[in-house]
């Protein structure tokens, strides 16, 4: 079945595109919209975006591959992104990642078999003063300790 935006998303798409000096400037926000709507950016989703924004499909594919927040593969219901960059690393990021791996029973880059959790390591999220930290979907969890990691996981289950 061909992918398509819902009427509501389509309305937002048109409004968004209309604000930019050129249609293609809206590509990244539109891809984010598509990702929200379709779950992840599989090939048909990229082709659809290419069509509505009038760009070659290869360009869209290329752009998606450049940005870490655009996913071509499915991610779990909770996308746990633990920061690994220096300030967080100095404050114990590695231990947090180890805790998450053990608790979830997966490696970095994997998704739990129930599809609930995907674990990723990411670079500095501008929260270094409250390191170590992680982001779950859009929410920040800061000043982590192993106990706090456990609590967060518990609250998500």
């Amino acid at each position: 079945m061909a992918l398509e935006f819902s009427p509501e998303t389509w309305r937002r798409f048109e409004e968004l595109v209309g604000r930019y000096p050129k249609k293609e400037a809206a590509l990244i926000p539109v891809l984010s919209m598509a990702q929200k709507e379709f779950g992840h950016l599989r090939l048909q989703a990229m082709e659809y975006v290419a069509k509505i924004i009038e760009l070659p499909a290869a360009r869209v594919y290329s752009v998606v591959s450049f940005y870490t927040m655009l996913n071509m593969k499915p991610v779990g219901k909770y996308h746990i992104q633990v920061c690994r960059t220096l300030p967080c690393a100095l404050m114990g990021a590695e231990r947090m990642a180890a805790r998450l791996k053990r608790k979830l029973g997966i490696q970095v880059g994997e998704t739990t078999s129930d599809g609930n959790f995907t674990l990723t390591e990411v670079e500095c999220l501008a929260s270094c003063g409250t390191a170590p930290m992680m982001q779950v979907n859009e929410d920040y969890y800061e000043n982590l300790t192993e106990a706090k990691v456990d609590d967060v996981l518990e609250s998500l289950k």
Binding site: L55, V63, L86
Partner: protein, 421 residues
């Protein structure tokens, strides 16, 4: 010291228009639109001595004056809210706690360069910040500070909040432009420069959040008051973000020229847990590290930092105590840059990964002594030979770690393991 940038952030609901206005917000805008020509605004900012807070420290007013006045093309003002430099989290604070200050700054700067379309490019991960900004922008539209005929002045401005999607290089201003054009965040070759050929080939000014957020204060209080703060060449105050092994991490507003050691030891409470300072990166991960013995006499301004062999950068101060393995630290930074290199130009694309692989090898105990000179050589072959300053940003810290902690690296190589554990 009078707080300028952080003047509002501890107030309840500081992010709302009501609170912002109650504290004198948008007074500068009304004044500028009523009493000042665009050129006057630029002149005022020039006179304040304000320099860009995004890392390079370029004089802001001068940058604005590069925009051709007679251009028939549209002009764009872009607020760089991509804050991704490791160790930097000041813009996020401003965005979340005082969004109207940056919105007002955006409007003032747009007016100064006579732009009618402005963008705030916010890094995609800052979902909460985007929500706060979205609301602030809506409030500003509603109050007539944005849109058509702002405050009855006849000046129009559209402000678009644009969210990125995860790529450090989009903080580099031309990488940002490519991204905003709907592309990969590939920096552009210069010349031409954005002020004449920026977004879609049109004159464009890119300024950091902190830079723009201070503009309303300058216009409101006058350039002279701002210029009275700081040192001869580094005016005003600057935000510093302190992280790592420090008792009181956080964002501090500091008068330019403040003694670095005093700042770390007194303002930030020093290194906790009875440990000693081993090194500090003063301006975000892309700046050369200073050894503990090198910070004596260093002041927190552009010139003094440069004299000490490093740079003020974004103001991301990363503190390392004496339990820190410098091999692992250097590798962590090298890995960051290898991960974030956009891959466009050969020295950076290949060199960053090459260095990362060698650091990783040294870290896991299979390094050789010759590797250290090899890294220095690779670093030297990147610096100054790339499309954008990312190359330098990746190469400089790598070289600095080896030069400044060479004994530790050699010992690590000899013992094939970390010498601190």
């Amino acid at each position: 010291m009078e707080k300028i940038l952080l003047r509002n952030i501890d107030i309840q609901d500081s992010h709302t228009l009501q609170v912002y206005e109650s504290r004198g917000g948008y007074r500068a805008l009304r004044k500028a639109l009523k009493e000042m020509t665009p050129e006057r605004v630029t002149e005022e900012v020039k006179a304040s001595g304000l320099r860009g807070r995004g890392g390079a420290g370029f004089p802001t007013g001068m940058k604005w004056s590069f925009v051709p006045k007679d251009s028939l093309k549209p002009k764009y003002l872009i607020c760089n809210a991509d804050e991704s430099e490791p160790g930097t989290f000041k813009d996020r604070l401003l965005i979340e706690k005082d969004p109207h200050a940056m919105v007002e700054g955006v409007i003032l700067a747009s007016y100064a360069i006579q732009s009618h379309t402005a963008f705030i490019y916010i890094r995609g991960e800052l979902a909460f910040g985007a929500k706060v900004l979205e609301r602030a922008i809506a409030e500003a539209y509603q109050a007539g500070y944005l849109g058509k005929n702002i405050s009855g002045s006849g000046y129009d401005l559209e402000l678009i909040l644009h969210r990125g999607a995860g790529a450090y290089i989009c903080g580099e201003e031309t990488g940002l432009l490519s991204s905003l054009e709907g592309g990969r965040g590939w920096p552009k070759v210069k010349p031409p420069f954005p002020a004449t050929h920026g977004l879609f080939g049109c004159p464009t000014i890119v300024n950091n959040v902190e830079t723009l957020a201070v503009v309303p204060w300058i216009i409101d209080q006058g350039a002279a008051r701002y210029a009275a703060i700081g040192t001869e060449k580094s005016k005003g105050t600057k935000l510093f973000c302190v992280s790592g092994h420090i008792r009181n991490p956080g964002v501090y507003e500091v008068e330019m020229g403040y003694p670095f050691r005093q700042f770390l030891e007194e303002d930030c409470g020093g290194v906790p847990g009875g440990k000693k300072l081993k090194g500090v990166i003063p301006g975000g991960a892309s700046m050369p590290v200073l050894r503990a013995d090198e910070i004596e006499g260093v002041r927190m301004d552009y010139e003094s930092m440069q004299a000490a062999g490093t740079l003020l950068g974004s103001g991301g101060v990363i503190v390392m105590d004496d339990s820190t393995c410098m091999v692992k630290t250097a590798w962590n930074i090298a890995r960051f840059f290898a991960h974030e290199s956009c891959g466009q130009c050969s020295p950076c694309r290949e060199g960053c990964h090459w260095m990362e692989k060698i650091f990783a090898r040294i870290d896991n105990g299979s390094g050789e002594k010759a590797d250290l000179d090899l890294i220095l050589n690779i670093s030297g072959n990147i610096i100054g030979r790339t499309i954008c300053p990312f190359g330098d940003a990746a190469a400089m810290p790598a070289a600095a770690f080896i030069k400044k902690y060479r004994d530790e690296f050699e010992e690590h190589i000899r013992q094939k393991r970390c010498v601190l554990t």
